[in-house]
Subunit: 218 residues, 8 copies
């Protein structure tokens, strides 16, 4: 039952492997960190809560650059920003942990991607005040919970592809993120694509893949 890090994934699929920490024991995480450290590899960890981070042996924990807000950690050197073009648009303050997970993943891969926050469409002027800035990005990641109305409005205002990340922010029928997820999928704004609830990492990986795609002119 040995854990194998798939170092070749980056070459095969264009995005690096990350370790989803949720559901793994401290002993399992420690083994991964040690193995990557020995191999001199950089590695990204997602969904590493503060309690779980605190449960790591100190020797492992000090190897990591840990950020509580996004619950992410990075093993190895910080990447220089060598690329840009992705913008992250977040509806509210409570959506920032997910927005930051996307931002940290992009940074890990050398992408400088700003977060534009507090532009939920229940107060439309907040989005409209910043729309010109938003329109300059090549790919957009939208992050919103509750009813997820941001996705439709944003996607209808820009030419860039929009990746919707529904968040589990909200209560009552919103709780868990299913309403925001379904709203993103049911949007009549064509070209909007969606990832799993709270999956900032996946949105960042998709953005990286999209920036590498390019049509061939005949």
């Amino acid at each position: 039952m040995d854990f194998q890090i798939d170092w070749a994934r980056d070459r095969r699929t264009g995005v690096p492997e990350a370790v989803l920490c949720e559901g793994k024991s401290p002993a399992q995480l420690e083994a991964v960190i040690a193995s990557a450290h020995r191999a001199g590899r950089r590695l990204l960890f997602t969904r590493l809560g503060q309690t779980e981070y605190a449960a790591l042996p100190e020797a492992s924990a000090t190897l990591l650059d840990y950020e509580p807000l996004s619950a992410t950690a990075v093993l190895g050197a910080v990447a220089d920003f060598t690329r840009s073009g992705v913008g992250i648009v977040a509806a509210g303050t409570s959506d920032l942990p997910v927005a930051r997970e996307a931002q940290r993943t992009l940074a890990f891969c050398g992408h400088d991607a700003p977060v534009i926050a507090d532009v939920g469409v229940a107060g439309l002027w907040r989005l409209m005040d910043r729309i010109e800035e938003i329109r300059r990005f090549r790919v957009l990641i939208g992050v919103a919970g509750m009813e997820g109305a941001l996705f439709s409005v944003l996607s209808g205002l820009v030419t860039a592809p929009v990746i919707a990340v529904p968040t589990s922010v909200g209560y009552g029928v919103a709780a868990g993120g299913m309403t925001a997820l379904h709203a993103a999928l049911a949007s009549c704004s064509p070209g909007l694509v969606v990832v799993n609830i709270d999956n900032g990492f996946g949105a960042a990986a998709a953005a990286i893949k999209m920036l590498a795609a390019r049509a061939e002119e005949h």
Copy 2:
């Protein structure tokens, strides 16, 4: 098993009784029409599909002012418009049957309520082009299916109370109207209220009740 029309409901609750035709047999509907006609009463019928209307005996059918688009029928004299203040805002063409059900209900009660259509927020400029006109109403009824993003945006742009009517328009995760319903309920736009999927009648009844309410100044 005799059917009793509740002629006193109007006085007791401020809104007239309507007959929900879905699930009633032609014989049952015929009995209701005959009873109201004998009593000289006006009566509103909702969710009366074209097939069901065609199945009525001709003597009953000719007593009704039937409109297929909204699947509504009126027995008795047309009301004069004596009041206004309600506006109906519909996201798309497919939402018009529900918007018309609301409009016909309001007309039955003497309210002149225009429908402003094709202002879905995936093309935000369509709504913004008409927002000043929309802001003049005292009560607004929003009608939208799919992801229901219209509700949040609309409610955030006006001071009037907005009654959201989610519609069963859409496919995939939208089908049935649950996504639009949940989006309306989960909206962070305060003051938005919601009725059942496709319930244009209920929204109209609520609008009538709202227009009769008024704060007492101390």
Copy 3:
């Protein structure tokens, strides 16, 4: 990633902005309180649990008028009651936190709105004993969990519009409030409108908007 309070919302939509505390960190809340305090603004906080309140720095906490039952807090001076007309009808003792959230929101806006409690319809006489008192309000907020039968019965007995707030009170199929929510939406009592589960704040905001609406006579 700076937090912007939307001070102009009140003017734009007729209801004040409130801060939904659930999902925000103590540091984020502290920043909001400090910013509002510096600006000399009144501000309402909802869904601020006792644990979260206790986690605030004392300097922030002492600025707030906090009430544990409703999990609400107010920053700034208490409003004088300048308006009335809203009544809050709660089915049971367990529904009081949500009823109080509505009451505190209304009080924040200068509305004196009494709570009439323990009138669940499984013991119908409790509601009937107080129905004349209830009928005097211009707008009613109904608060009930479990099967939510109160909404239909109440709405059928009054001319005022009724805003249903389903609560997450109950267990088994009631847990989470979906049964009360669906019961409110499926009610055949015309004119009943609904907000999200446990959303006392939203019901209060809707009531305020309704009291400002008024039909124009022709």
Copy 4:
């Protein structure tokens, strides 16, 4: 793959076997009718739609006492009424097919059980007008769709046990009967029991069993 009618069920469980016709082919139904007819047995058929009844060979069809409203048929002699004590209370006209299925089942077993209809609680006075009559029954069957508020109110007004039969009447969140079902189960009115959606037959069988139960005094 031979069909065996369980003639001994009546003795074993106190209720007769009925044939659920839905999902059975005309050939299968014809075989059952012939077998029972040869054996000189009475037999009850439920959920036999008009199309399915019309598809039976005439020789089979003429043996049946068929009623379209309840979609039930009886093979064999009509039973004399030898017992009473069960009352059936139906919220609306659209609930009558289910109410009649219960009534026909009770009649098949010799029980004379009246239907009291159009007493939905959105117009409470309709129920209160007949409550004394309703209170005289030993066992009550409540039949309601939509939000099913009748169940809680009725059960709180009587000492008899109430069997709730939710119906699939309604649209939007009510459609299919799940809201009425959950409302019946989540009711805080103690002693209310529930059967499957549209299961008038099952409610009648339960009522028959209840009337046979009796406490032993010590």
Copy 5:
């Protein structure tokens, strides 16, 4: 916002009022206990967890006869057993808390009702070994979680009415009790009736009402 105990419920509906403790604060419970104690009334408390019981002031707690397994408490004198006829059949050890809630409720009302446990139908011989004993009861309460197969089998083996209480025992698709609930409702065993998940109290109340019902012979 005063709490009113409905002392007259017993007379009106045949079953006593109980206090559902879940969702009530220690202060609210303390007030109820004090009020009932002052009035010299007996009172049953359900869903009172050990943590919540421990949070009561000692003066209140010592007035109660508390049982942790069923999470019930009784205020006032123990009732003598004056009636019998109800049997409680529980599938497994994990279902005992719910079975005991029913038993304690019946005892509170003077009914001596034995629990027959560990007779789940995956090992059918366990049920068959005790079926003669079970057949002697006038009313049966079945208690089972997971797939709830006990309900169909038990109801098919007895003439007494069976009240199914699905429990939240199980994991995966069983968790929460919805599978057992739906199995009880979908059973083709006629005469089976159902209450909410884990609602031992409701089943006991229904059993008491059933024992009081009796057919009138013509």
Copy 6:
């Protein structure tokens, strides 16, 4: 967009390829039949409704051995029975189409597998009367809809592995087969395995694979 029959599947996975007809056009089916006929291959078709079968060109239709009850068709020679050991146990008459799909699939592969029907556990004696016969099979396929209680009881009475096929038979909460499916999965009878709703073909394929498996003794 050419259709490729996977002739090598039998060798690779031990079960033959079948053509799921639902969702395929007559033209697509005709092409498959022609291709297989030209290649001299036997082929099994499932979920081929009577309307869809009638829509085939006569040249194609006459090549098939079609059975309406199971909605299956066979192209090519009938197989001799060369193996046995599988028994199919069906709860009710309405479950026979699914039971027959399993039986026809097994026959296509040379397995002689009898169907034992009408042994639903609501009348337990019917199952017990035939249990010795059932115990002689090496692998059992259980077929039941509604509450699916047959699966737990059957699996607890035999040493053979039981493959549960939930069916979409029933109404209300049973409709669609989800209750029977969940009951099979949540059963505490160890060793019970489950396939998709109405998937008689899949159960037969699993049975064939199981009969080929055998433990190695050390």
Copy 7:
């Protein structure tokens, strides 16, 4: 209630407006066709079933290039293929209607996008046989119903971004496409993005947007 075609959408969002025909009446469609024809505009129609197409007046119908398999129609001149780079990978024959909707949408915009079909991963060799061809595309659209396992496998084998289109192909728990949708969203293959069930149009629009995006190197 006039219908406004949003001719400027192409410029604003990079994708053309399409008319979703489902839920629109023949009269509404006729008006759209006439309006676009008069304006000399090209227009794409989706989800136009054969029955609905046949219900159009002949003057309207003959203006359209209609394809039944994909239920799409094009008004105006066929576009020359001027771009390529998108590949469409479909699991089975039944997924072809959705794959064709994507292909027709891309063709409408001048993209030549081949469909590679019958490569479902239950027979993995079919996909592996064509993987080199698939790897040459810049953007991939995956189309699969049932369990949607194709999405994870495909996305893990290529560097191009993959847009998953779950289809409503399948029965039992697959029916409606929710299982394939959830499988696409829950995939651990990073960079996979998802659109609504059966939304071939949306996937094509997203692919067109992605091909226009491109990272800026620093």
Copy 8:
């Protein structure tokens, strides 16, 4: 309310009885351990969390061979491995607890069953590297969470029957295991069978039963 261990189950059904600890109190577990210990019986305990294990009296705890990862315990002597033929294939590290529950159950019954881990199909090469080893088993248990794509791919590559155990690993739409469960059931790979979410014990019991089944050649 005495607990009866069913010592004869092994003989009756071919698999031993295990004690599901979840939902049982320490006192109940202690009684079971003591009873089995007195009788000199071996016994398997499942879903015994670390907190629950620590809550056992020391005298009971020391009798058990407890493993935290699988949350299983064994009372009595370790079995010698006398049989083999079952292989356990797990998608990821987080699935190991469930894989180990299966492995421990098989070991309890004398089966030596290796776990092959980290072969999730998002990186297909990991599975293909070990496929020859996997093909040598007579029965396979697949263990996967998230989207459960492993099940379809694995089952399509082998002749052995595959028992799918969906796990509750994942977040968003995957959380709880329903997506993996539905993917396993909806798979078009024929012969795949499924057990409840996280039910490693049940899969092991099914594997044992399958190895004992064998076709009779004619």
